[in-house]
């Protein structure tokens, strides 16, 4: 066991810190409005220019070939410097690992560089009006078009994050209409400019237009835009969620940074003798530390060749509950001023409330923990 960072890692950290401190934009607003998204793209392109957009990717795709540990270091420094939530994250963290694992060379070369450069912007098309927690209920269809050498997609996707501002969608469609549940789905890559696509943005909890409905009416996509095998979309989509890359969506750096901000808030707002709020702030810090060290433990295990499975559900429940709790403590510190807070805590609280819902509700995650980590019977 060695809980220090190597000289290389420390050098990498120093490089990240210097660049981020100098370059992280101040006062960048929400990335979930049209104007805000455009402003965020400037930042994304700055990251790309400095080769900080996708540090863990190979160099030929715009990355630095950073190890998972270096990636964690980058994330710590990114949030420490006050970097904003990244509007490109669903492409970089959800689609890209799948492209690396299942994509053809042509797909990698076509998709990844433009994703890294924030030239093409990807949103996720999994949920549908009748398929939320239960993705097996997907009804959007893909019908074979042999003439065109591709497929025709029809149906409706919804709760698509930043769909109104993106250029492409990756999603699951039912290609074998006779198959049920998770079978017979195919993973498609869909340009939102294609004929037959209509996108309607709508408000998230905080009112920002961060969600979209995507309507597809006989939209043609070529065979080159099928990711992985036809009818195997479920396996393709799931393969990377609990893999090494599966941990990348919620790096500890974000929560450590929030805990640090919470301590700052406590210093400015709290009676230092109030043990209740002091305890709550300390607990938030300890939980953020627990999350950080659990991640280091996990990354070490993966480096040593262990396969992770349903353990990612433990992580999902923990960080999402922690994020809500930290914001609740902050709002309590703000008292009646929380209602008109502009410093980001109230907005952050509303964002945090999505954590226990999206990417599989925490109720579903707890089922997974019970059934697949603890081995309890499904029925």
């Amino acid at each position: 066991m060695d809980l220090t960072f190597t000289a290389e890692e420390e050098a990498f950290r120093a490089e990240c810190r210097a660049w981020l401190e100098a370059n992280v934009p101040r006062g960048l607003g929400s990335g979930d409005t049209r104007d805000g998204f455009a402003a965020h793209l400037e930042w994304e392109r700055a990251l790309f220019e400095a080769r900080f957009a996708v540090v863990s990717w190979p160099k030929e795709y715009g990355g630095r070939g950073a190890s998972p540990m270096e990636w964690l270091i980058f994330e710590e420094e990114y949030y420490r410097a006050g970097g904003p939530q990244r509007v490109t994250q669903n492409g970089i963290f959800l689609l890209a690992p799948t492209v690396f694992e299942f994509g053809t060379q042509e797909q990698r070369d076509r998709i990844l560089p433009r994703m890294a450069a924030a030239e093409e912007l990807w949103c996720q098309g999994w949920s549908e009006p009748n398929a939320g927690s239960d993705l097996a209920g997907i009804q959007s269809k893909a019908v074979r078009d042999d003439t065109g050498g591709g497929w025709r997609l029809s149906g409706q996707k919804t709760w698509t994050t930043r769909g109104a501002f993106c250029t492409h969608l990756f999603g699951l469609f039912r290609s074998d209409l006779d198959a049920e549940s998770h079978r017979g789905l195919t993973y498609f890559l869909v340009p939102l400019a294609a004929t037959g696509v209509t996108v309607r943005g709508f408000g998230r909890l905080d009112g920002d237009e961060g969600f979209a409905e995507v309507f597809l009416d006989d939209v043609f996509v070529s065979d080159a835009d099928v990711l992985g095998e036809v009818h195997q979309g479920w396996g393709v989509a799931m393969a990377t969620t609990s893999s090494e890359r599966g941990l990348t969506l919620r790096s500890p750096g974000r929560f450590t940074a929030t805990a640090t901000r919470l301590i700052e808030l406590w210093r400015t707002r709290a009676d230092p003798n109030d043990a209740r709020l002091r305890d709550a702030v300390v607990q938030a810090w300890m939980d953020a530390e627990a999350y950080r060290w659990q991640t280091f433990l996990t990354v070490t295990r993966m480096r040593d060749g262990e396969q992770l499975g349903a353990e990612s559900s433990l992580t999902k429940v923990f960080w999402s509950d922690l994020d809500v709790r930290m914001h609740e403590v902050a709002l309590e510190l703000l008292g009646a001023d929380a209602e008109h807070d502009e410093s980001g805590w109230m907005k952050g609280y509303q964002f945090a409330l999505s954590g226990p819902i999206y990417a599989g509700t925490n109720e579903i995650q707890r089922n997974v923990i019970a059934e697949r980590v603890l081995g309890l019977p499904r029925k």
Partner: protein, 313 residues
């Protein structure tokens, strides 16, 4: 011991409920987010016509508490507590306020911003010297409330003293009690909405309300409602009967009702999932009102501290 409302009190409640069900659907609340004053075209007028806005001139807190619960249930975007419960009984000449022709709001030292000040004609201000009536006042807008219907300002000005320190304490307690009643109504509303939703919404081939996790979330919210309500009604009785412990009773009511509403909001959102997280869906209107009112008029922590001073002395 007869812990029940009279038929008159219930009839008054029912009449207001009927009015609000007609005049204050969620669309009216949503409209207040974007209209100029964050208020309604009709609800204020109708409440004035019906005599509700002036009711506190003749009726006690106990007669009003169920009405305020209904105002919470419908998230009425009007200064019902500030104007009707707190200000009207204190105004030297209350007639125009009692009909709703003019609007009175409140500002208490150390208790956060004032809602609806931009459309107010007079301000009843709680100060360390007592209750002061501001007929001329200046307002400074604050950043937007998370509840878009609540336009927040700080208020300043000077005016005549219209009540002593005890009147000030009592005025604050009435405001806190009225807010507690609204929070009970909000809790009921969020619970009702969520029960309907989870009975209807199907995933995995069954209504999501058949899942034990969803059942237990909503059972917990229902329990919180069940045990918040009696403390609110008891506090209303204590205020109406000038019980010497009335402030502690109000604080218990406000703390417990605020916590119940926050719990119900959290459970309602989680049981709704993504649909509840959508701005277009109405749950957010009630949830954000609950957040705002749970922190207004003293949050749970402030009121627990006040209870502590009463029971731990």
């Amino acid at each position: 011991m007869q812990f029940a409302f009279t038929d008159d009190q219930l009839a008054f409640r029912d009449a207001v409920r009927d009015l609000l069900a007609r005049e204050c659907p969620a669309s009216v609340v949503r409209d207040a987010w974007t209209n100029e004053q964050g208020r309604t075209d009709n609800v204020w007028v109708r409440l004035g016509d019906m005599g509700v806005l002036g009711a506190a001139l003749e009726l006690a807190d106990l007669d009003l508490v169920l009405v305020l619960e209904e105002c919470g249930y419908f998230a009425v975007p009007e200064p019902v507590v500030e104007h009707m419960v707190v200000a009207v009984p204190l105004l030297p000449v209350p007639s125009r306020a009692a009909t709703g022709e003019i609007t009175a709001v409140t500002a208490f030292a150390g208790q956060g911003p004032t809602a609806y000040a931009d459309s107010a004609d007079v301000v009843v201000m709680g100060t360390h010297e007592g209750v002061v009536l501001l007929e001329d006042f200046a307002i400074v807008p604050l950043p937007a409330s998370v509840d878009g219907s609540r336009r927040l300002h700080t208020v300043s000005g000077s005016g005549a003293v219209i009540g002593d320190g005890d009147a000030c304490r009592r005025a604050f307690d009435r405001g806190a009690l009225g807010t507690a009643a609204q929070l009970v109504g909000l809790t009921r509303r969020m619970l009702d909405m969520t029960v309907e939703y989870v009975k209807d919404r199907k995933q995995f081939g069954v209504p999501i309300g058949s899942f034990q996790a969803v059942k237990h979330h909503l059972a917990d919210a229902r329990i919180a409602l069940e045990f918040a309500r009696p403390l609110v009604y008891r506090a209303a009785w204590s205020m109406s009967h000038d019980d010497p412990e009335q402030s502690a009773h109000v604080s218990m009511a406000k703390a417990v009702a605020g916590d119940a509403a926050l719990l119900a909001a959290a459970k309602a959102l989680q049981c709704h999932g993504a649909i509840g997280y959508s701005f277009e869906y109405d749950l957010q209107l009630f949830m954000k009102r609950a957040w705002a009112l749970a922190a207004a008029w003293g949050d749970a922590s402030w009121h627990r501290a006040r209870v502590g001073r009463a029971i731990l002395r």
